[in-house]
């Protein structure tokens, strides 16, 4: 038995009021006939019957309201006949089938006349069209535009998914030692002198947040203490039923003050520490060592320095810089960097000179070393190192290195491996020159030997290249006249 439901007559409508039943209970109704007049939130609408039959029951009487979908009447019996659902309710007045005309003109009698010259004409026209519009409430939609329902979704949807992924990303992603610190936390930490390594991050993804740092700073002591939010042991007095204070349970040994001397890092040291750690743990290092016969080089240097003023004297390091620079012109693939999955070959050859001071490590850069004469290199390197030592170096002095040399030879170190100085892909560690017995023409004779070890980033430079590069450096140092040119 088809029921008549309260129809949805506009999208903001929730209930409708029955204004007038156009058929009486018991009366026959034909599908398509106007059945009932309903007041929606916007207008009074005449609603047609969707089924034919006897209006067996009026469920919601005139004057009463019902929500959309509620049954307002019942129509018994089966459907009627005739395809005239959209004709007006006067079945006996069916017009005869129209003969197809040759060229039927559209009915324009009702169409409004455009380009009215007198204001009154268009106003008349507007009155007609506006009559029904005026009935609608002030905030009715134009085309009674369909509207989405109220925002009743309680679960998070797809719209926020990407943002939430970012927020909830876990802290460690194989970066090892890199800390996750929010910018504001970092700033406050620096301002307040808080050691970030000792602060536990409780922010999204394990990040150290402003709150974490502020709390750590609030503790007021420079000695680092671990702090975990929400997991502190409860005060004994708060344990229910307990009258006696109990000793706080220990949770791992915290170093008592006085057992160690804590040395705070300067900003520079912190940076160096972090960069080296990053280099060590992100670049796959391998090492190639070569032993160089330095007899000719030493002799050349002696002769050179005897001929010039003391201020223009060259050092073994200067020879090394030149040798490396020339070798890099032959092996440009060594003068390169790893950059996000790509290898960037640098055009300029800028050699970083590692300068170790008691409290810091600095690497001034000698630019375009391949284009400078040995004399020029000697002068420039002296100046660079002097500026660095006396803290007079500018930012420019430290930028742009493409290869670095680290020399611990003066400390009697015969060999060591260095950590690559980012963004280089290799670093050359120089040991001391030793007098040592060597084989020459089948005889044991004294010779001067120096061991150099290259640390190489395997992503950028493969073993054979590194070996050949080192071979070239050795060749140049062992035939040092080439360096003088």
């Amino acid at each position: 038995m088809p029921d008549v439901q309260m129809p949805r007559l506009s999208d903001s409508m929730e209930t409708g009021k029955i204004l007038r039943w156009l058929k009486k209970e018991g009366e026959q109704v034909r599908k398509g006939e106007p059945l009932v007049e309903i007041e929606s939130d916007k207008a009074n609408i005449e609603v047609e019957a969707y089924a034919s039959g006897r209006l067996s029951k009026i469920v919601v009487p005139e004057g009463e309201s019902a929500p959309i979908g509620a049954v307002i009447a019942e129509i018994g019996g089966n459907g009627g006949s005739g395809p005239s659902a959209d004709k007006p309710a006067a079945p006996q007045e069916q017009a005869p089938a129209a003969e197809p005309e040759q060229k039927p003109q559209p009915v324009t009698a009702q169409a409004p006349k455009p380009q009215a010259t007198k204001p009154e004409a268009h106003v008349v026209q507007a009155e007609k069209a506006m009559a029904a519009t005026a009935q609608q409430a002030a905030d009715s939609g134009g085309e009674q535009y369909p509207h989405g329902g109220p925002d009743d979704r309680t679960e998070v949807g797809a719209a926020a998914a990407a943002a939430l992924n970012v927020i909830r990303r876990p802290a460690t992603q194989g970066d090892g030692d890199r800390m996750r610190v929010s910018p504001v936390a970092r700033r406050i930490a620096e301002e307040q002198g808080v050691d970030l390594r000792q602060v536990k991050g409780t922010g999204p993804g394990g990040r150290i947040t402003k709150e974490d740092v502020e709390t750590a700073a609030g503790r007021g002591t420079p000695s680092p203490t671990l702090r975990t939010r929400g997991r502190e042991q409860p005060e004994p007095a708060l344990i229910r039923g307990s009258e006696q204070p109990q000793p706080a349970p220990t949770r791992g040994r915290e170093p008592a003050i006085g057992e160690v001397e804590v040395v705070e890092l300067s900003k520079l040291q912190t940076t160096v520490a972090m960069r080296l750690a990053q280099s060590k743990f992100s670049a796959p290092h391998y090492y190639v060592t070569s032993e160089i016969a330095m007899d000719d080089a030493v002799r050349l240097r002696q002769m050179f320095n005897e001929a010039v003023d003391k201020s223009e004297a060259i050092s073994i390091n200067d020879l090394l810089i030149k040798a490396v620079a020339l070798a890099l012109t032959k092996f440009p693939e060594v003068n390169a960097s790893w950059a996000d999955g790509r290898i960037e070959r640098k055009r300029d050859i800028n050699i970083g000179i590692a300068v170790g001071l008691p409290d810091r490590l600095i690497v001034p850069v000698l630019k375009n070393a391949d284009q400078r004469s040995l004399k020029d290199i000697a002068r420039e390197s002296k100046q660079l190192i002097e500026r660095a030592r006396s803290n007079k170096a500018s930012m420019q002095d430290y930028l742009g290195n493409t290869f670095t040399i680290s020399n611990l030879g003066m400390y009697d170190v015969d060999q060591f491996t260095a950590i690559i100085n980012p963004p280089d892909s290799a670093i050359l560690a120089i040991g001391s020159i030793e007098d040592t017995p060597v084989i020459k023409d089948g005889q044991i004779v004294p010779g001067k030997r120096m061991r150099i070890t290259m640390s190489v980033d395997h992503r950028v430079i493969y073993g054979v290249t590194a070996a050949q590069f080192l071979q070239e450096v050795k060749r140049l140092l062992q035939s040092p006249m080439a360096l003088v040119l």
């Binding site: 439901q5 129809p7 949805r8 007559l9 506009s10 999208d11 398509g32 207008a43 969707y50 959309i68 979908g69 459907g79 006949s81 005739g82 395809p83 005239s84 659902a85 959209d86 004709k87 007006p88 069916q94 017009a95 005869p96 089938a97 129209a98 197809p100 005309e101 040759q102 060229k103 039927p104 559209p106 009915v107 324009t108 009698a109 009702q110 169409a111 409004p112 455009p114 007609k128 069209a129 506006m130 009559a131 029904a132 519009t133 609608q136 939609g141 085309e143 009674q144 535009y145 369909p146 797809a158």
Partner: protein, 337 residues
Amino acid sequence: MKVEQRPTSSTPEEALDDKSTLLALYREMLLIRRFEEKTAEMYQRAQIGGFCHLNIGEEASIVGTISALRKQDYVYSTYREHGHALAKGITANAVMAELFGKETGTSRGRGGSMHLFSQEHRFYGGYAIVGQALPIACGTGYAITYKGTDEVVMSIFGDGATNIGGFHEALNVAKLWHLPIVFVCVNNLYGMGTAVNRASAVTEIWKKACAYDMTGERVDGMDVLAVRRITDQLVEQARERHEPSLLECVTYRYRGHSMSDPDTYRGKDEIKEWQGRDPILSLADHMKGQKLITDQDIQRIDEEITRQVEASVEFAEQSPEPDPRELYRDVYAEGAA
């Protein structure tokens, strides 16, 4: 400038007198009528949301044109397309399910009333932007030429679309490139709320074809046989000679622009006048006059069609909703050539 005018009473190749053809046309029109009535009811029951545009009154223009096509011919339509989809062979189940937003709909619930589609039936879509499909239809026409096959493209649109840039560009290249296209303008005299003579400098749409040296025809869109006869000829010239054409079917929509339209810009008298020339009643009377059908037949057919439509509602109601986890499916296509 050639404008071919063929009187609408010329004899077609296929006889339009035999009972089975007439019955098929009748049933198709009645299916559209009952389906659209049911759609209106379902919309008011909030089972169908968004925009809903009905073909009630336009059945002859729809069935008369599309029935002239072969299965493998293409149809491009607009947002007022439920009847077009049915006439092209898409089941009432699939169309209603799409209106209900279900996974079993023609567009798997993603499209709704305005974006029906079927690859199998070569129903290449409903479009919500007026005139958007005409240039696209030309693309398909071009592909047919390119591949040397013999299909035809029918691009159906309203009177409003004949004033937008895409119409001009499409008709121009259709003629220029000899595309096998029939452009069908269902002129129901109103582009939303604006009557044709307030929107178009030339109100006899068929005349616009002359700007492209293209065949232009006009037919009584309430007479399915007249529409079918002329469409047969235009489809043939498209298929055999790659001569595109513009066919204007003058018709009327009994209801407002959409289910949300209060329809205050047309007079009740005008609507009644057009209802007096109802296409379905006209054909029924014609067939009765030819003694091809009785009132009982008409009643029986109506009951069958009504049941078919009700079954489509049941099907739609029982079909599953799309799975929210599949929100992103089909944004992109997989694979490569």
